[in-house]
């Protein structure tokens, strides 16, 4: 080697390994150069000390004797070269000239390509050498020289590189900081402009720059530079952002917000490139910044992401603690809440444990809707009945419950701590209402109660239910104590998705709590309301009506059965029942229990009529007493018939209370009540209306028009019968039903008008046995061949309902007619309870008034056609006027007859009535239409006119004979006859209407609302008499 390279250039280095590496060096050879080199690392432990020194010497000699002289030589050479080409005025000029020509030749986007030997490259090398040898002045000058060149050539990358070097050189020179920073920024911006291809360069440049700033304690600026370094590469920018955040932390004063923000940003970037552990590390740092912050979105975000990431790492416990932080806040939007909750539940499920989350008020319990329902002497058939206001029941039970018990409120008693009242079980209803923005969809909540004092022998209920978002449901939880003692309801506990346990304590926030029952004294604490004294069990009846329809049509008449069930060991007795709406529901007779419906309603020949009415009087008191001998034995049930009649359309609430007493129980609570509540919807079916008009030609006969409208949408009713209630009225059809309604059924929307003749059937003076069968008070409207029996409206259920109808439809006053219209519905599609059997509908119309006309009715009877020989004598005709007083008061009637109009100074009344002018309008003298004029006009052959003219013409040809005015007194509901006589002088047709009746009702002692006329005047109605000349 020496021979080849020459002795001066070669040196020998002997390296011998020491034995066993025992040689210890005091310090590492690098310790002077690298402060952070660890002393524990035994560098060169196998080298002997002198060998080390030899190595050191060799390297120093190499660098000082060979490398540095070489570089210096190189610099000299290059400097000479550069100064020869570029320095001096001549060269500058030439350079410009030359460069111009060059510009045209190469114009690529990256600037011209510089070969190593080109002068620019040489200058750059010169600068680098100078920089390495710490000849910064030279370096700067050479760098500057080429930087302008590169700039002119648009060789941006090289330009940026040179700028970077200038910046560094300035920094090393430690003068003109501005300059250095400017250069670095220039270089950095240039790199950034060049795009992602020089990303690395940009990063390097940025890092240089940051180091520069850091050494000058401009850490804040360094952070911004870090932030600017961030590029598209996620991991890269994540690291940079983290560094930036540390810069903010280190800056003085520490900018904690920025620190946190950048940590979060970098965490997000880490997450995006799947460096979850790094992400968590940054977020954990950020959490320490944001702990206790009120910037809610930030907090949510941080905790949520940490929780999520921990969960993805499988560290569920930590995840849960973070997730818990964000759950209870109320400010979040619905979507984010749902997201949080879903993730939370997901995580919790993964942990496989159940957590008690007191913070999470989910589902929200509407505490004001909390009701504790217990039963003392009041028992309820259904939960719905329990939610009815106490006042409703109280008013219903008023006259049934002994007053001693009705007055004393058991809560009052209990507050005195006298355990007198008993309860068997209570039901607490936790009204669970969920505020709209808390609920996720399709989450299932499992709820169970927990109660306090009595630990054993309690039966608690668990309810499983699921809540949709924004849904509110009512949950009923029951507690059934098994032993005697004191029961306190503490709160409600629930499990969310079978993992998260929530607890709601009623005591803590029971400000608005209301107890459903009882008047509460103000001094009561709410806790007293939740405390119960449990006593031994008592009989408790359970009752229900199995076939009560929920939806029916108005008029529906049904036979129902009330079933009372006694499941305890003691019999109960002395049952009473009260129904809130007797118009709809009525207790029947026990004999009806097993009869077939609608057959029992049919008319029987030997049924006793008066029984129903007497019963009805009793029923009006609304309390139904079960027979004394009825008692419900232990573990048996009692059935009792009920009649149901849907009286009016609408939504009907039926309240039924059954009162019963315990036998041989020595407790203070001797009685209990069972409360039942049913809601039913009654749809309008048939609209029946009647109109009565007096028959003019008959006394006490009326024309009855029945209008029936089928208001249902689809049902088809078969009409069955029309009955008038009472025994004084006789109904008959004017024309057969076939001609009005061939099909006998009313289809939906169909209107039917039917005319009947109604005759008042006067009871014979010997009124003992007016056989009702002879009275045609019922009219069959069904098909003629139908042999079905008519329904008896006077027997129990129909008559009872009718009485109630009368009560409701108006005041009961005599002289009015009530009708019952019965139809059948064959299709049982309302609630398909009895599809094979026709549903029976009865419509009761009461108080069809007869009093639209005057209380006095009269009827003129006499011969209609008379043959008389006028040559012999004027003809006298005897007429008979029958006057009926249909009112309740005695009346005096004054019958006046007027002379025919033209005979003498005619009475104004008659003329007025004939000309149809109201009397009041004519004052003093007025022109009367001349009879002659009328005669002239009425020469045409109109029959009516003729009769009129004839009557006018012949008017003077008859006069009233006999007394011109008759006065008589009529007793109530009496009839009198007044003889009348006329004298006719010539043959013709006469209208005997020129008379008037003045009637005056004597005032009755108590004016019972008969506010109609007490006096009046009636004009006579036409009565035509034909008198012929007999030969």
């Amino acid at each position: 080697m020496r021979s080849t390279f020459g002795p001066n250039d070669c040196q020998l280095l002997c390296i011998n390994s020491s034995q066993d590496g025992q040689t210890r060096h005091k310090d590492t050879p690098w310790s002077t150069f690298r402060s952070d080199a660890l002393a524990t690392e035994h560098l060169g432990r196998f080298l002997k000390l002198d060998v080390l020194n030899e190595i050191k010497n060799l390297m120093q000699e190499l660098s000082s004797k060979h490398i540095i002289p070489y570089m210096e030589q190189k610099i000299r050479l290059l400097n000479q070269q550069v100064s020869s080409t570029r320095k001096g005025f001549r060269n500058q000029f030439k350079n410009l000239w030359w460069r111009k020509g060059k510009e045209d030749a190469l114009d690529t986007t990256n600037g011209p390509v510089y070969t190593f030997s080109s002068i620019e490259s040489q200058i750059r090398v010169l600068g680098d050498y100078a920089f390495m040898l710490r000849d910064y002045e030279l370096a700067v000058s050479s760098y500057r020289l080429i930087s302008t060149d590169y700039k002119l050539d648009k060789a941006w990358k090289r330009y940026a590189g040179v700028q970077e070097m200038i910046g560094l050189t300035y920094f090393m020179l430690d003068q003109s900081r501005k300059e250095a920073e400017y250069c670095m920024e220039n270089a950095f911006n240039t790199y950034l402009k060049l795009g992602s291809a020089v990303q690395q360069n940009a990063t390097r440049c940025g890092l240089w720059w940051i180091e520069m700033l850091k050494t000058r304690n401009q850490i804040k600026e360094a952070a911004t530079v870090y932030f600017r370094i961030c590029g598209e590469d996620l991991l890269h920018s994540a690291v940079m952002l983290e560094q930036a955040s540390f810069c903010y932390l280190l800056s003085k004063p520490p900018m904690l917000h920025k620190y946190g923000f950048h940590l979060v940003l970098s965490g997000d970037h880490y997450k995006k490139c799947d460096q979850i552990k790094h992400a968590i590390r940054t977020y954990r740092n950020a959490v320490s910044v944001y702990r206790g912050t009120t910037w809610n979105l930030i907090k949510d975000r941080v905790h949520f992401h940490i929780g999520q990431w921990y969960a993805s790492l499988g560290m569920y416990d930590v995840a849960v603690t973070h997730m818990l932080e964000i759950l209870a806040s109320s400010h979040q939007s619905k979507t984010s809440q749902e997201l949080f909750l879903r993730d939370f539940l997901h995580i919790v499920q993964k942990t496989g444990k159940t957590f008690e989350v007191l913070k999470l008020q989910l589902p929200v319990i509407n505490i004001s809707s909390l009701k504790v329902i217990f039963e003392d002497h009041r028992t309820y058939a259904s939960p719905a009945a329990a939610s009815i206001k106490e006042g409703v029941w109280r008013s219903l039970e008023e006259d049934m419950i002994p007053s001693l018990f009705a007055k004393s409120n058991w809560l009052d008693v209990q507050s005195k701590l006298i355990p007198r009242k008993y309860k068997e079980s209570n039901i607490c209803v936790a009204g669970e209402a969920n505020s709209s923005n808390v609920e996720p969809q399709n989450d299932e909540y499992k709820t169970s109660t927990s109660t306090g004092d009595i630990n054993s022998s309690l039966v608690l209920s668990e309810v499983d239910f699921s809540l949709e978002g924004g849904e509110t449901i009512l949950v009923q939880l029951t507690v059934t104590p098994r032993v005697e003692g004191i029961l306190t309801i503490v709160g409600v506990k629930w499990k969310l998705s079978s993992s998260v346990v929530g607890l709601h304590n009623f005591e803590s926030n029971s400000v608005n709590k209301r107890i459903a029952k009882g008047r509460r004294k103000p001094k009561h604490s709410p806790s007293a309301d939740l405390k119960f004294i449990v006593i031994k069990s008592l009989p408790r009846l359970q009752g229900f009506i199995p076939s009560l329809p929920e939806k029916t049509y108005a008029g529906d008449l049904r036979h129902l059965v009330l079933e009372l069930n006694n499941q305890s060991k003691f019999p109960v007795k002395n049952l009473k029942m009260k129904i809130s709406n007797p118009r709809f529901l009525n207790a029947g007779n026990q004999s009806y229990l097993n009869v077939e419906f609608s057959a029992c309603l049919e008319k029987k020949l030997n049924v006793e009529q008066s029984g129903g009415h007497a019963n009805a009087k009793k029923m009006l008191q609304n309390v139904f007493h079960f027979p004394e001998d009825i008692s419900v034995q232990e573990e048996t049930s009692l059935s009792w018939p009920l009649w149901f009649h849907a009286a009016v359309p609408g939504n009907i609430s039926l309240y039924i209370t059954v009162y019963y007493e315990m036998e041989n129980v020595s407790s203070i609570m001797k009685f209990r009540t069972l409360r039942m509540h049913y809601n039913l919807q009654v749809l309008p079916s048939l609209d029946v209306s009647f109109e009565l008009s007096p028959c003019p030609s008959r006394l006490e006969e009326f024309l009855l028009r029945m209008d029936v409208v089928n208001k249902t949408s689809s049902e088809c009713f078969q009409i069955h019968q029309l009955s008038s209630v009472g025994q004084q009225w006789d109904v008959s059809l004017l024309q057969p039903v076939d001609s009005i309604l061939p099909s006998q059924s009313l289809f939906a929307g169909q209107v039917l008008s039917c005319f009947f003749m109604l005759k008042y059937h006067r009871k014979s003076s010997t009124s003992e046995d007016s056989n009702p069968l002879f009275l045609q008070s019922d009219v069959r409207l069904g098909p003629p061949g139908n042999s079905e029996a008519l329904f008896d409206v006077c027997s129990s259920p129909l008559a009872d309902f009718h009485d109630y109808e009368r009560l409701y439809q108006g005041m009961s006053c005599q002289g009015n007619v009530d009708f019952v219209f019965i139809t059948q519905l064959w299709r049982g599609n309302i609630d398909s309870g009895a599809p094979h059997r026709p549903l029976l509908f009865s419509h009761h119309v009461c108080h069809c008034s007869l009093s639209s006309f005057s209380p006095i009715s009269w009827f003129v009877d006499g011969p209609r056609t008379i043959q008389h020989n006028f040559s012999a004598s004027p003809c006298g005709v005897n007429l008979k006027m029958t006057i009926n007083n249909s009112s309740d008061a005695a009346s005096s009637v004054h019958v006046k007859t007027f002379d025919p109009p033209s005979s003498n100074s005619q009475s104004i009344d008659a003329t007025a009535s004939q000309s149809g002018l109201p009397l009041e309008n004519q004052v003093g003298w007025f022109s009367i239409p001349a009879v002659n004029d009328t005669k002239v006009i009425t020469t045409d052959a109109l029959a009516k006119r003729i009769t009129k003219s004839v009557s006018l013409e012949s008017a003077p040809q008859f006069i009233w004979t006999g007394s011109s005015s008759t006065k008589l007194k009529l007793q109530p509901r009496a009839t009198a006859e007044v003889p009348l006589q006329i004298c006719v002088f010539a043959p013709g047709i006469y209208d005997l209407s020129n008379y008037a009746l003045n009637w005056n009702l004597a005032p009755i002692e108590e004016s019972q609302g008969e506010a109609n006329k007490s006096s009046g005047e009636c004009q006579g109605y036409p009565y035509y008499l034909t008198v012929l000349q007999s030969t």
């Binding site: 917000h257 920025k258 923000f261 930030i298």
Partner: protein, 120 residues
């Protein structure tokens, strides 16, 4: 990013007492809290700047990407911070002055406790 604006009133203790977000941008779920982050981070700079100038309106003091934070500091160091993606100093300044008036009005409300959340 489309036009968006986030306005927050920050109390003396760095607690936001009023937040309003205006913008037509259909926000992504993960971008909802970005304005808060930016504005909160800008608090540091406000801290520095607020004592260097006597003007209440601090102009645009910070920016993140293309979002600019403008701050107005009242006499009792309540900070109105507005995050905008476009800058028009005059408009922002008049906006801040208007808000300042409104804020003073709400301060005059005897029921309003200074530093508590403003609800309207």
């Amino acid at each position: 990013m489309t036009t968006t604006a986030c306005f927050i009133i920050v109390s003396r203790n760095d607690i936001p007492i009023y937040e309003a977000e205006v913008g037509s941008a259909a926000k992504r779920e993960d971008a909802a809290q970005l304005p808060q982050f930016i504005l909160q981070a800008a608090l540091d700079i406000v801290q520095d700047l607020a004592w260097t100038t006597s003007a209440m309106f601090l102009k645009a003091i910070d920016k993140f990407n293309d979002l600019v934070v403008s701050v107005y500091v009242t006499a009792d160091h309540i900070r109105f911070m507005l995050l905008l993606d476009s800058r028009s100093d005059d408009g922002i300044k008049s906006f801040f002055q208007e808000v300042h008036e409104l804020y003073i009005k709400s301060l005059l409300n005897p029921l309003y406790l200074p530093g508590s959340r403003i609800t309207s």
